[in-house]
Amino acid sequence: MARWVTCVAGLLVAAFLLAPILAILPLSFSAGSFLFYPLPGVSLRWYRDFFGSDFWLPALWNSLLIGGAAAGLATLLGVPAAFGLWRMRGAARALAMGVVLAPMVVPVIVVAVALLLAFGPIGLVATHAGLIVAHAALGVPFVVVTVLASLEGFDPVQLRAAAACGAGPVRAFLRICLPQIAPGVAAGAVFAFATSLDEVVVALFIAGPAQRTLPRQMFAGLNDSISLTTAAAATMLVGLSVLLLLAVAWLQGRARRRLQGAATDRM
């Protein structure tokens, strides 16, 4: 009895999670211009509007460009740091971890306002570089956490074996370690990209008109009146998110299989 009640309640909550998103997706294919059902007809006019507009398309490019650059920067800094943290112990490690993970817990409004104040005098407000640096800082904890998780399954003896065979530390890392943790690195990069793609508050405060990202543009659209073009943009962002989710699920599956493979090899 109790089992059935929990089951039904759980399914209802799952429906609550999905329903609002599923409810708005079909609206973007409406032939009319109202945001409710029934649809007067099906058309792609709002997508044509999106791709023909002077601000939505640049916003999409900005999102991809800034997200890509921020993810690249976060990965470039995060992977060596994760490797270093993996070998560190004690208080120094705890302190470093605290700094690295801080962007995950500090309310993003504090980051946004602080960066507005700090970037103003050095000319980084309303520049792509400023937003990329900010988004890289917000995305880097996800890279470090993901890479550290994949290093859990890596056997450090292999590095000593490589050293014994005459490989330098850099060569040993690149040829022995990196290939084994590659899925984790890729998943971390996707996490960082998704963080940037999702981020709106920092963009709201430090981006200029030339750096408007897709969420920033949507926020502006939502603030005056919701158009169906906004619904089309939302649908495309949902599509992008689903792709990223599938990418990470696939990469994490690969990483897990690889770890299991390594574990059976060792036995």
């Binding site: 109790a2 929990t6 089951c7 759980g10 909550v13 799952a14 609550f16 999670l17 609002p20 998103i21 409810a23 708005i24 945001l35 409710f36 059902y37 800094l77 060596p80 740091a81 490797f83 270093g84 993996w86 070998r87 560190m88 971890m97 700094v99 690295v100 801080a102 817990v105 500090v106 309310p107 993003v108 409004i109 504090v110 980051v111 306002v113 602080a114 960066l115 507005l116 104040l117 970037f119 890289a136 800082a137 904890p141 470090v144 956490v145 998704a194 999702d198 709106v200 508050v201 949507m218 926020f219 939502l222 919701i226 906004t230 939302a234 962002l237 949902v238 998110s241 689903v242 990223l244």
Partner: protein, 397 residues
């Protein structure tokens, strides 16, 4: 491990730490520093601030302070003519935050005191404005003299010092932030409780299901987790607005339209929807870690279902429950976008006021003091999380 590898490990972390120090730690530190310091008034009125150091604050200060004010303002005007800086305006804006009227009073006094006058400085200054006879006017200057100052932090909790230096509550009609802080805590608490109530059955279902159904259910939790916060807020706007999906559906039954948006209900509903995955994922981990034999053993020993739940399931899952609650609470506390889009003026949380004071009413000190309060609350929660769930667990992120 030998010394060399440990050194190289530290070297590998250095680039990232340097990057975060420059792009994250230092900017936030510099911003928060403004919440506990005052740097606008002392450069413009250095002699006045010095002259007020020994003043008792009961009546207008002695002639030396008036003379110092005249000297300071004349010098500041001369400097502005030469270099064109906005020092007087910045000092006036800071003093205005303490005592309304200063924004006009200080520049006007500076302009008019430049004309030569006979007799004591006190009479000349008082002739420009009676305000200079009020000890509170001078108290505002002394309070803003810096370098360290509790003014902004006190203001952020609806307190202020009077001219004599005693801490008092501001008049009831000017109290804002105590209410904002309580409102933020209350909304976050409400959202956390609702997430726990809704997340529990879903997490139980996910944890006890096997095979493709479990994958599907987990997907239903993960998908919203990945979709942009703005998109999810937009979805609720489309559903709840006056000519939205829900009202159109209700209209078909002859109900409404109901005002579903721009209120507390909409804010809490959307926040619960957005934060629910952060509750469900730790709960699933906790339930999966629960040995199913234990509740069964308790039941076979004669415990009622309620007793099994209270004495066996709840204590064993407590770390997971605490982790989920704290994760949701921390994030709810800092919410900006959702209340801004779905709430009315009385539903805005701390974050909105930080943004407001930083940009629209340029008062960095107050914005920084509010941020300090926000970070303090988050810090307490993180410490709790560390104690209850431990930092070794990777969490949901």
């Amino acid at each position: 491990m030998t010394r060399a590898p440990r050194l190289s490990a530290a070297l590998l972390v250095t680039p990232l730490l340097t990057f975060l120090l420059l792009s994250f730690v230092a900017p936030i530190g510099a911003f928060l520093w403004r919440g506990v310091t005052d740097a606008e008034v002392a450069p413009v009125l250095p002699r006045t601030v010095a002259a007020l150091a020994g003043w008792d604050g009961r009546a207008a200060p002695d002639d030396a302070a008036f003379a110092a004010l005249v000297d300071d303002l004349r010098e500041a005007r001369a400097r502005e003519r030469a270099a064109g800086a906005g020092g007087i305006a910045r000092a006036a804006a800071r003093l205005n935050a303490d005592r309304p009227g200063f924004r006009g009073l200080l520049p006007m006094t500076a302009r008019r005191i430049e004309a030569p006058f006979d007799g004591p400085a006190r009479a000349a200054v008082l002739a420009i404005s009676e305000e200079w006879g009020d000890p509170e006017t001078w108290g505002a200057i002394r309070r803003a003299g810096g370098p360290l100052s509790a003014f902004h932090v006190l203001a952020a909790v609806d307190l202020r010092r009077d001219a004599e230096g005693a801490v008092r509550a501001v008049p009831p009609d000017q109290r804002v932030f105590g209410q904002v802080l309580l409102r933020s805590l209350w909304i976050s608490l409400l959202v956390t409780a609702a997430c726990l109530a809704l997340g529990w059955p879903l997490a139980w279902l996910v944890a006890t299901t096997r095979g493709w159904a479990a994958t599907l259910l987990l997907g239903a939790v993960m998908l919203p987790f990945w979709i942009s916060l703005v998109v999810r807020t937009a979805a609720w706007m489309v559903l709840l607005q006056r000519e939205g999906v829900v009202n159109a559906a209700l209209g078909a039954f002859g109900i409404g339209p109901l005002p579903l948006m721009m209120n507390r209900f909409a804010v809490v509903l959307a926040m619960v929807h957005i934060l629910l995955p952060f509750m469900v994922l730790p709960l699933v981990a906790a339930f999966r870690g629960l040995d199913p034999a234990l509740p069964r053993a308790a039941a076979s020993l004669g415990a009622t279902p309620w007793r099994v739940f209270r004495r066996v399931i709840l204590p064993l899952c407590l770390p997971g429950i605490a982790a989920g609650c704290i994760l949701v609470f921390i994030q709810a506390l800092g919410f900006y976008v959702t209340p801004a889009l779905l709430g009315g003026p009385s539903d805005q949380m701390m974050a909105w006021f930080v943004g407001f004071y930083a940009t629209r009413s340029v008062n960095w000190g107050l914005a920084a003091a509010l941020s300090l309060l926000l970070l303090l609350a988050v810090g307490v929660c993180v410490a709790l999380y560390g104690r209850l769930a431990g930092f070794r667990r990777p969490g949901t992120a």
